[in-house]
Symmetry: C4
Subunit: 235 residues, 4 copies
């Protein structure tokens, strides 16, 4: 019997293989409250393959065999060349897929999408204070040093102001792609885009960089909400 | 020796058998703070049997042998046909049983009852803002898409307004049944009913659907409480 | 070699033996944030022995061999008959011991002391709102039904008002004993006494009853603090 | 093959050996939210060696082989005598190293650095209420008794006022050393120094003392923030 569905692509003894790492990360993100109720998603690019968590699966129970694999020859390759080379039976691909691919085209190796309540709340507070076109801004908090300044530019300094663009949410997740690409054009150094009333997309060169950046940003969002409650300014 | 108490009904090697799944879910709900101090409950219908967590057992320590089994020939069958076919020694059946059965009569496969503090707080805030007859309302938050619009109607859209009815609490849990049934008549599309100063009942076709819906709603309640603290409107 | 230190008293294969149960409960209480920084304590009476967690040990790392054992012939026996029959080397007995014994004299089988922040905050809010002599009061919250009305009196009804006495803190923990005994005299039905700026003592006939009561009360304290932040009255 | 990198220094079967204990503590601190996004750090001095968690490693995944070892003949020995005798390949030493060493020179056996949000928030609230030169002050809270009064002076009494100095943050972590040393000179009894907009350094004679002190202080900072929200004074 041939491995017609390319199951070998998600079978590995290496705990850091994307098919093993995505379930482990999803379980951890569930504990952090980022992917409640099957919300959010995670994707990793490795060589010419993209591995994606499916839609609608309880994140803390995800298994390697639930993972979709997409052929992704090289960044900037015509999108028509991308096709699923492994689809788990009875599962639907994530609606976040086009957004993940948009970050991989820009060189990312991993992209994480969460519904973190702190992320949602800072999008609402920013709108309330500065209007729809404002980005989230915070400065002189040590944890900013966990956020890169831009590709090849090192990390933020303590005295820098961190800016994360905010895009408006759309009825369908895939329609966010255009907004996300526009935000990246406007903020070419950003590794994250907030989505109003929805959550955040965070990416990085490696899974470790994307995941630790996601943690640092969530720390800053939670701190910002608490600071707002206590009458303390963000910048 | 005959299995006079039908113990075989709660003995299975399948981790997703209701007698194994209910303890696993209860343990998880304990960690989420939903079933503190033996509060709350969980029930699963499988074929013609209903499995119910007992009253008064520490949820994080529940075992398959603690589970009650009720004969439940088919929905809409005369209630008199329902009787316990397995009762654990020294345990009392859950006072939530009539409420669970009311949802099973309407086709549910799993019903979850929590004492979530976020659920209690939104019932109090809704009363304070809009009076006793108001339901909980929230709109344009992405997580709403994790809540079904009604049987066979798909999920809520981002721009929909989610409405969850609120019923008044009663001195005895079983007396809630009538209120719950009335709320379902009034909101025939709902899969959840809030109980003022008490908690919430959430159900679904399957345990996974009931559990992930319960998570999405709890996320929305927590967000709503935080939004209220920050002066942000729910709709 | 004789077992001169009565080590056999804390060696048992029964996971529910006090010498095994106290470490398990302490680990769970640590996770709940009740016994941070070696604060708080737990004691269980079994037959004529009282088992007590030591002072100064990290609660999540406690081991059966760390447990003190006190001879406690029967309640109401002259206190002079009580003496340690097992003392772990290099450990100090808990300063809570006289308070635990005071509850055992009144028939308790288990007493738990936590430094829960919610408990501390309700003692401060009660003082601010109603003065030093007021007790904590809350009513018409379902979780009240998890609190017994008094020995042999069943649980609180939903429409009852729950009252927990509050005593003033003292410089030395053992000096609290007199205040605790006075509070029990004044509130003979109570199974718990709050200590201002300090925490709470909770007891019950069995470890399970004391632990689930402690959970229900902590739930109510947390809810009360959140209600206060949201401008919602407790009664 | 000689053990040219002194790997034997981080290989031990003793679970409490610094090379095993540091990863275990870091994992626990991650769960407590103290070292999110690779922030914070931990160091233990044992005899004439100092063991230090590296920079940039996910704290919950740290392994003994990730640990740096520094020669530290005796406190007060000329700093020039200190050199790394084990460096993990591909890892950078922690920027906190000079601060850890400053506490070891004063006799500490373990130093912990966290980015706790509660610590950050009390530095901001103290500045807002009392200006840049004020220290954090709190009194008459039982948990204060978990904080030592100074070397050889026992623990704080309930009626004492606890004071923790606050230093201003600097662009580079190593530049904090001078501020930390000055704060210790000014508050010779302190075992902790808060860093504005950054976090806290906490130390003790042993890892257990430093860790439980860190817990007690974090408890007090969290309580202080909640008290401030509720309009309750700290002293």
């Amino acid at each position: 019997m041939a491995d017609q569905n390319n199951d070998h692509l998600v079978q590995s003894d290496d705990p850091d293989h994307p098919a093993n790492l995505i379930p482990r990360l999803c379980k951890q993100f569930y504990t952090l409250g980022w992917v409640t109720g099957t919300g959010g998603g995670t994707s990793i690019r490795k060589d010419e393959h993209v591995f994606i968590a499916p839609s609608g699966v309880q994140k803390e129970l995800m298994q390697p065999e639930n993972i979709f694999v997409l052929d992704f020859p090289t960044p900037k390759y015509p999108p028509s060349a991308r096709k699923y080379i492994r689809k788990p039976l009875n599962l639907k691909p994530s609606a976040c897929t086009p957004l993940f691919l948009a970050t991989f085209e820009r060189g990312a190796g991993c992209c994480i999408h969460t519904h973190s309540q702190w992320a949602v709340l800072v999008t609402l507070l920013t709108e309330k204070m500065h209007g729809k076109d404002a980005c989230f801004e915070i400065s002189t908090i040590e944890q900013i040093k966990g956020v890169p300044k831009g590709p090849g530019k090192g990390m933020h300094d303590f005295f820098d102001t961190l800016r994360i663009p905010i895009i408006e949410n759309t009825a369908f997740e895939e329609d966010l792609t255009e907004h996300l690409e526009k935000a990246i054009e406007q903020y070419p150094d950003t590794y994250a885009v907030l989505v109003r009333r929805h959550g955040i997309y965070v990416w990085g060169d490696t899974p470790a960089k994307a995941k630790t950046l996601c943690e640092s940003l969530d720390y800053l969002f939670q701190l910002a909400v608490e600071m707002h409650k206590l009458g303390l300014a963000w910048t």
